[in-house]
């Protein structure tokens, strides 16, 4: 086995050809051994002592160690999601640390959640008229909107953008970037157009006589 790693010398004449064939054969065998080791370590899951590995591939311990070191490098340098770890005199396959953030998503069940009618209404009023006060929202909706505004704040769809310069200095709300992301708008200018003058018209129509 050690020849696989060290046999680099050139032999003269016909011997060279034999040596070349032999080397190719060795390379093939080495790759086969690496495949065996990968399969064994994968199935084991846990760390496997080098003694056990050398027994399985029928090589001495020193050779096994050098094969393992070679494999360690290969995993490291190639675009693989897993790598080989030496732990004391054992070896274990594990995932590369940089992919941890993807792996944690395995355990995450994403729950799709919709918005309530009240949330849509409130969000719409805030989106189209921002910045607005809670009083304005309630005026248009005709109902108390404490909870729904609280809820939208929690969902990070709206946020406080300042205070109105009027008695009580009520908070002003506007939509967030999260709102744009979730609804797929690039900016609030992307909101589907609506005839807002409707409200104004009503106010003007109040007859005096």
């Amino acid at each position: 086995m050690e020849k696989y790693i060290s046999n680099q010398e050139e032999l003269p004449g016909t011997k060279a050809l034999n040596a070349e064939n032999e080397r190719k054969q060795h390379m093939h065998d080495l790759r086969e051994i690496e495949s065996i080791l990968e399969a064994v370590l994968f199935a084991a899951g846990d760390a496997v002592p080098v003694e056990k590995l050398s027994e399985i591939i029928n090589q001495d311990k020193k050779t096994t160690v050098s094969i393992m070191s070679n494999m360690e490098m290969k995993y490291k340098n190639s675009s693989r999601g897993i790598m080989l770890r030496r732990i004391g005199t054992s070896y274990q396959l594990c995932t590369k640390p940089e992919y941890d953030r993807y792996i944690v998503q395995l355990g995450q069940a994403r729950k799709k959640q919709g918005l309530s009618q009240a949330a849509y209404e409130t969000l719409a009023i805030i989106a189209y008229h921002q910045p607005v006060t809670k009083a304005y929202v309630e005026h248009i909706r005709g109902v108390n909107s404490d909870n729904v505004i609280m809820n939208l704040l929690e969902k990070n769809l709206i946020c406080e953008v300042g205070r109105q310069d009027s008695p009580g200095k009520p908070k002003l709300y506007g939509t967030t970037e999260e709102f744009l992301r979730v609804f797929g708008f690039s900016s609030v200018k992307d909101l589907p157009p609506i005839d807002i003058n409707d409200i104004q018209t009503v106010m003007d129509e109040i007859p005096v006589d």
């Binding site: 944690v104 995450q108 799709k112 959640q113 919709g114 797929g184 589907p192 609506i194 106010m203 109040i206």
Partner: protein
């Protein structure tokens, strides 16, 4: 092992999955062409097994007895003299049995394939899952931009309807409270004569006066503005309304 005629009696009936299984055993043992089953021979052998079972005091599953009856029935039909007439119709008493046997044979063949595949794929090893942290549910909002607009239009409509409804009520109020409106206009004009800017909310406060009075006051204010005796300012929507005598604003500007 000898080939004694009753050697098969040593086979326990439980070794067979069912009557079809037993029949297949007999067909294979006798190297019989499944398309041309010697029904007399097969029936006799089948019955031998059942008798052997009886002798051994083993319980025979009802399916085996049903098959025995079927076989005996076919056998009798095959032996009947009027079989010649049936030949003309092309009907073979064994037909149904053969079809069922072939159907069953297909299942057995596939069962063999499954057994082999299972043995082959047993060589494949899987890895136990890593202990992953139980992360909280990540809720993802599912929203509809068109619903946003739709909801908005509905709420605007509802708002307008409400306003129209109120203005209808207002009309009725006005008809009843004509005098009251005039009175309010007079009161307001009196206050404006003093030349000071008035806050609408200060004069007509819902906490102090009735809704009706506030509404009438609002209308009185609009009436005064319309007549050009005062100007109304409101810096932000739904903010405070200021009423100023026109005289001051205009006179100073002129």
């Amino acid at each position: 092992m000898t080939n004694a005629p009753h050697d098969h009696c040593t086979i326990r009936i439980k070794d067979f999955e069912g009557p079809f299984d037993l029949l297949f055993y007999l067909i294979e043992k006798n190297k019989i062409d499944i398309y041309d089953i010697p029904i007399v021979e097969i029936t006799d052998q089948y019955m031998d097994y059942l008798f052997a079972m009886q002798e051994m005091d083993l319980e025979i599953a009802s399916e085996f007895l049903v098959m025995a009856a079927t076989l005996l029935h076919i056998k009798s039909r095959m032996l009947l003299p009027e079989r010649k007439e049936q030949d003309e119709t092309g009907e073979d008493p064994r037909e149904e049995l053969i079809i069922k046997l072939l159907e069953y044979k297909k299942v057995r063949d596939f069962a063999d394939i499954l057994r082999n595949r299972e043995a082959e794929w047993r060589k494949v090893h899987y890895k136990l899952p890593e202990a992953l942290p139980e992360s909280a549910y990540e809720t993802e909002l599912e929203v509809s931009p068109s619903l946003l607009k739709e909801c908005y239009q509905k709420i605007l409509q509802a708002y307008n309807d409400r306003q129209n409804d109120e203005s209808q009520k207002m009309r009725r109020i006005i008809q009843h409270e004509r005098v009251s409106l005039r009175l309010k206009i007079k009161q307001l004009l009196d206050m404006l004569k003093k030349g000071i800017r008035l806050c609408f909310s200060a004069i007509f406060n819902l906490k102090k006066t009735s809704k009706l009075e506030v509404a009438t006051g609002f209308l009185a204010m609009l009436e005064i503005a319309k007549s050009g005796k005062a100007t109304i300012h409101q810096e932000v929507e739904f903010g405070e309304i200021y009423i100023e005598p026109r005289r001051i604003a205009r006179d100073e500007g002129a």
